[in-house]
Amino acid sequence: MPESNLQRALEAKKFVVTAECGPPKSADRRVIEEKAKLLKDWVDAANVTDNQTAVTRMSSLAACAILKSFGLDPVFQITCRDRNRIALQSDILGAYALGIRNVLCLTGDHQSFGNHPQAKGVFDLDSVHLIETVKKMRDEGRFLSGDELTGERPAMFIGAVENPFAPPYEFRALRLKKKVEAGAQFIQTQIVYNIQRFREFIARVGDLGLLDKVYIIAGVSPIKTPGAAKYMRDNVPGLDVPNEIVSRMEAAGKGIEDKQARAEAWRQEGIKICVELIQQLKEIQGVAGVHIMAIEWEEAVPEIVQKSGLKS
C-alpha cells in the first residue's frame, strides 16, 4: 500500500482532485496553515509551487512540511532553475524525511520573468533528468552519479508536467513519453481551456500507449476577470485561451454597473466555465483527475469541486 494518498486514489481509479497552493512572499507560516484548512477536505493532494514564475517565496519544501502537518498530502514541486544536481537530490532526501511522498519535477520558469532577473539560472539538469534521478534514488538506491545511498531510499510518487498547448504540438506527446520512460508516474498538465486541442493531445498520448503507464491530471484554472482572460490569451506563452471564453467573461459583466456586483458576476462565470471544463475533461478517456490552479484564489476550490460533482 503506497504511502502517497494521491497515488492510492489514482490506483483506486478515483477521479482525483489536486489543487495548487502558493507559498507566501514572507516567513509567515499562517498563510500556509489557512490554505491547508481551506483545501483539506476537498482535495486528494495539494501542490506547493517552487518559487513560481521565478518570484522568491517561502521554500516549497518547508510549505509542504506544514501542509503535511495539517493532514494534507503535499506534492513537492521542485525546479531545476535554482538548484544543481547536488541540491536537488539533497532536497528530495530531506522532503522524504519530512514525510512528503509526492514530487513534481519541473524545469522551472526562466529567472528573467521573476523578481531577480539578474539571477544566474542553474539548469544543471532538465526535468527529464530530474525524474530519472529521483527514480534512480528510489529504485536503485543510487545517486545520479552512481554513488550509493547509504540507507533508506526516498519512495517518492514521481510526477511531471506537460504543456499540450505549446509548439511543436506533435512533439508534446513524445516528450511526455520521455518523461514516462524516465520514471514519471503522474502528469499534471498546463491549464486546459482549449478542450479540442487537449483531446488531440490525449489521443496522441494514447497512440503512444502511455495511458496505461501514467496518470494524466488535467490542469484547470478559474478565471477572475475578462481582463485576466485576455491577458492569458494574448500574453502568456503556452496558454491557449479560445476567444469564446473571453467573450463569455465579457458578457457576464455586461450591463452591471456596481463594481462589486460585476466582479462577483465575473467570478461566477469564471467558476462556471471551470466547472464545465472539468465536466468535459471527466468524459475524456485517460484523464485521471484535475489539478485546480486557483492562483491566489484558493477559496474557489471547494466551490469548483462541489459544483463539478467531484465531492459533495
Partner: protein, 226 residues
C-alpha cells in the same frame, strides 16, 4: 567569432576618469568583424572621449592603435614601449586581449568592451549566440542546432512549455528568437532524423564547461619545449 559590445560611453569615461595619457588599442580580429573594437571603433571612441573630456575642461591625450590579435603577445609587442609610457591602456579587444595585455604589462589595462558570446552573423548588424563552448558537442544529434547555447534553459530533452504559438521562445529580452527545440524538431524532420531525440539525452557532464574550472588546452606535439 567572439562577439562583444562596446561599453556605454558613460562607463568608459568613468573608467578613464583618473587618466590623462592613454592608449586606445583595438583588435582587428573578432571584435573588428563584430564592429565593436576594430580600428574604426578606436577612432570613433577616441574622438568621442577627447571631445567629452575637452567639454569637461580636462583634456586627455590619446594614442590610437590597433593590432592584428591582442590574444597573441607577438602582435602586442611592437606597442610595448608606447604602452609603458601610458597611464593606462583602454583595450578594445575582447576580454582575452585585456587579460593578455594585463599579464604582460604593469600598466592598468581597461576593458572598453563587454565580451558577450561566440556568435554568428545573422545579417549585417545582428549577431546571435549559437555556441556556448561547453566542451562537449552533441550537434550531430540535434541537427546542428545547439540546445545548450540556443535554449535559455539549456534543455536537453525537448522544449519547455514557454514556447509561443509562433514558435519563438518566451525569453525574449534580447529580442525574439525561435525556440531552439522547435528548430531542432523541424530540422531533424527535414533530415529524417527525429529518432535522435526520441530517447532521453543523459544529464550533461558540465565538467568540460567552465564549471569544471578555468580551462586550458594543451597539444603536446606542438609544444616547443623539449
Amino acid at each position: 567569432m567572439i562577439v562583444a559590445d562596446q561599453k556605454p560611453i558613460e562607463e568608459i569615461l568613468q573608467m578613464l576618469e583618473p587618466y590623462k595619457k592613454v592608449l586606445f588599442l583595438g583588435c582587428q580580429t573578432c571584435v573588428a568583424v563584430c564592429m565593436a573594437g576594430g580600428e574604426k571603433e578606436v577612432g570613433l571612441l577616441a574622438a568621442a572621449v577627447r571631445l567629452a573630456r575637452k567639454q569637461q575642461g580636462r583634456p586627455i591625450e590619446i594614442i590610437e592603435g590597433a593590432v592584428k590579435r591582442q590574444c597573441d603577445d607577438e602582435f602586442n609587442e611592437p606597442w610595448a614601449k608606447t604602452i609603458e609610457q601610458q597611464e593606462a591602456v583602454l583595450s578594445l579587444a575582447c576580454g582575452v586581449g585585456v587579460n593578455k595585455l594585463s599579464e604582460r604589462f604593469d600598466v592598468p589595462i581597461l576593458p572598453a568592451l563587454n565580451t558577450k558570446f561566440f556568435g554568428e552573423v545573422e545579417r549585417q548588424g545582428v549577431w546571435a549566440e549559437v555556441c556556448a563552448g561547453c566542451g562537449n558537442c552533441i550537434l550531430h544529434l540535434t541537427g546542428g542546432i545547439c540546445p545548450i547555447a540556443r535554449c535559455a534553459k539549456n534543455l536537453l530533452n525537448g522544449p519547455c512549455g514557454g514556447v509561443r504559438a509562433d514558435g519563438t521562445c518566451e525569453v525574449a529580452h534580447n529580442g525574439p528568437r525561435p525556440c531552439a527545440w522547435v528548430m531542432i524538431y523541424e530540422r531533424l524532420g527535414k533530415l529524417n532524423q527525429r529518432q535522435n531525440i526520441e530517447n532521453i539525452f543523459a544529464a550533461k557532464d558540465w565538467s568540460s564547461d567552465r564549471h569544471g574550472g578555468p580551462r586550458k588546452r594543451v597539444r603536446e606535439d606542438m609544444l616547443l619545449e623539449t
